[in-house]
Amino acid sequence: MSASQPVEMDSLFGDYPLDNAFDEMREATGEVRPHYRALAETLAGLPQEELQRRKQSADLSFLTQGITFTVYGRDEGTERIFPYDLLPRLVTAEEWDRIERGLTQRITALNHFLRDVYSDEKILNDRVVPRELVYSCKHYRRQMRGLQVPRNVYIAVVGSDLLRLNTGEYVVLEDNLRVPSGVSYMLTNRRVMKRTFPQLFHSYGVRPIEHYPQLLLATLRSLAPEGRPEPNIVLLTPGVFNSAYFEHTYLARQMGIDLVEGRDLVTHDNIVYMRTTDGLKRVDVIYRRVDDDFSDPLIFRVDSSLGCAGLFNAYRAGNVTVTNAFGTGLADDKAVYAYVPDIIRYYLDEDAILPNVKTFILSEEKQRKHVLANLDKLVVKAVGESGGYGMLIGTQSTARQREEFARQIEANPRNYIAQPTLDFSRAPCLIGNRLEPRHVDLRPYVLFGDKVNIVPGGLTRVALERGSLVVNSSQGGGSKDTWVLE
């Protein structure tokens, strides 16, 4: 540790380990990075009791606001407070500039890709992306072929997951193009942090994110069907048992729109209505937080009662906008992911600004053999899953788990991909009275209406267990506020 740092820093850092992984706060030499210096000094200058008091007051704030998520598979206590860390993650203006440009490029290209695949299939005819890969994707929706989507926008709301490698470079781990969640935690984290560290927040010059609901509303409005100048916009939720129900109520309230369930909607003559106490009211734009499968029992899963019968035909007729469009899961399939740099080059004639993580396609024999021989070093993921389900982390697995996965891969190679185990970056977290580094990712939220809009920030997810690489909230992860500096 450098001698120029105040003495208190020692007790705060304690045995804060530095190794191969990139540390957001400290250089390899132990020196605190320039943009983290003010934070470190503030922390070192605060008495322990004061830090704990602020922590408790923030806890209470989350509790009384009822910021919860639902854990599946338990009878009781299914509502949990979302765990969070008190210290902000800092992102410099240069870093953010690259992220913003990279994501804009990526989302633009992916939207081109979806439009192309569901209409002309140029990219398939030119053999840039294998046809079998697209057609065998679980989320490919035949029903979307040849359908005109409003403004050609398939993916209006996106949350892409970024990691930072040991070089300090940001890479994209996955794109969430179906119903990405977590944005309410980004917004509530910020509200609590502003109250917890008002001075520090002010002195840092943090770019605001609070206008996200307004931007989302504007995005949804821009996608309304023609001839509906005062569109009735609603948020469609699966209901109170969904894990993200808190977020649905939060966003509906922040935007001032109705939160509807499938049973509130009816269709007649290809027009969607909602049942109100004043009779039927026409619905123009649906911000859909229900998966494709459950959206319309006449078209998708017949046993679903969450959606609205006839919704898809009304959508096809152009009488209602549903966003994100159906079938967008095609482009966040983890095997299609491997082709995203090629997709960007194909449509935009540019190199990807944000690189991909090296990905092995297991339906190709050579790559599969390599993966099966190295299962203990790699991470294997099911292509259509999210939330950390259906995953094998080789370095932390047992021989039996590896055998099980090898069997499944042999049986259905298209269903899996493999990636190297990434030593992604760590950020300081307040664990007890000490700072300790924990692995973090970053999920910025991208809106795509008239143009691409990204609020400067996002949800930094934290693997709160020491050494853990899993950041998903359903698997014991937490979050922290993300400060993008001016």
């Binding site: 009822g66 509130d264 007649h268 209505y273 909602m274 049942r275 106490t277 004043d278 039927l280």
Partner: protein, 320 residues
């Protein structure tokens, strides 16, 4: 407003009103059992059950404390206080975005209070305190509902639920009491009848209000008049019917759709019946039938509200 939301707010409010009514009746009945009158504990319990609609599984077993505990905490019985609080909270949870944070926090606190081990312990040491704290919780919720929520359609559905439940419960209570109380005309000076009458008034939190209007001179006819026909007291049936009428008018005004004539007619008829009948006429005629008719009409209002605002057919809605 979404029909489902109106429905949830209505039931949230009905459940809380029901919980409050049950708690109050239990409190009064247990108080009356302290006095050594001719009426046995079993008779009192049965009378209370009759005024709560004779729920299943609440047959007298000879042990007051265990019966009371069951009536408060047995969350499998649809008449229990806990069941009603659970129902109110579940409905509120489904319309979390429609109610204010204060409302949600109050209701949530009441819910956790009912389920905490502390509630059971308090029940053992002092049943009265335990019951009083439940009532407090409900009163706080009603207070913040009135002060933190927009007085729009949602709030009107809350009022509809509250007043319909109250009209129905009070009519049932009077129907049960009328058999032995309003028929006797000779004054009983033993003091027990006085306690009975005070009990009836306290079941509707109306003892003090009654005294302000009639002095403490309790007579069955005046009590009936007060609980049925008073236009200024919130627990009198006439007042609640006024409330229902105003709520429907206000829903119509903000929504711009005329309520069906059937609904306004039923409400109007009940309103007129209570506004233009004297207690003498009621007692001279068939009192039981009069009270029963109030119950039937409130059920009918409930059905029509449902048919018109919540479960209407698509064809009928498209036609208008």
């Amino acid at each position: 407003m979404l029909s489902r939301v109106g429905d949830s707010l209505y039931w949230m409010s009905r459940y809380l009103e029901r919980a409050e009514n049950t708690v109050r009746q239990l409190d009064v009945t247990m108080g009356l059992m302290l006095d050594t009158s001719d009426t046995s504990a079993e008779t009192r319990w049965q009378r209370m059950m009759a005024s709560l609609g004779n729920p299943e599984g609440m047959e007298w077993n000879g042990d007051l404390e265990s019966m009371a505990r069951k009536l408060v905490f047995d969350n499998l019985s649809p008449v229990s206080v806990t069941f009603c609080v659970n129902g109110a909270r579940e409905n509120a949870r489904q319309v979390r975005e429609e109610i204010s944070s204060e409302q949600w926090q109050r209701l949530n606190r009441l819910y956790h209070q009912m389920h905490s081990p502390h509630a059971q312990a308090q029940f053992r040491t002092s049943i009265n305190d335990a019951l009083a704290s439940v009532i407090d919780g409900i009163h706080l919720f009603k207070g913040v509902s009135d002060t933190t929520m927009i007085h729009g359609q949602g709030w009107q559905f809350i009022r509809l639920g509250r007043y319909l439940e109250r009209a129905y419960a009070t009519a049932t209570l009077l129907e049960v009491y009328q058999a032995d109380m309003f028929q006797e005309h000779e004054q009983d000076h033993s003091g027990y009848q006085y306690l009975e009458l005070v009990g009836l008034l306290r079941c509707c939190t109306s003892f003090e209000a009654y005294c302000q209007v009639y002095t403490a001179d309790l007579s069955p006819a005046r009590i009936l008049e007060f609980l049925l026909l008073n236009r200024d007291f919130p627990h009198a049936i006439r007042y609640t019917v006024d409330g229902i009428r105003h709520a429907i008018e206000s829903i119509q005004r903000t929504g711009g759709r005329r309520p069906p004539e059937e609904l306004t007619a039923v409400i109007g008829r009940l309103h007129a019946m209570l506004g233009y009948t004297s207690v003498g006429e009621i007692l001279a005629g068939d009192t039981a039938a009069f009270l029963h008719s109030i119950r039937e009409q409130s059920m009918r209002i409930h059905e029509l509200i449902y048919r018109y605002y919540v479960q209407y057919s698509i064809q009928s809605a498209l036609a208008t």
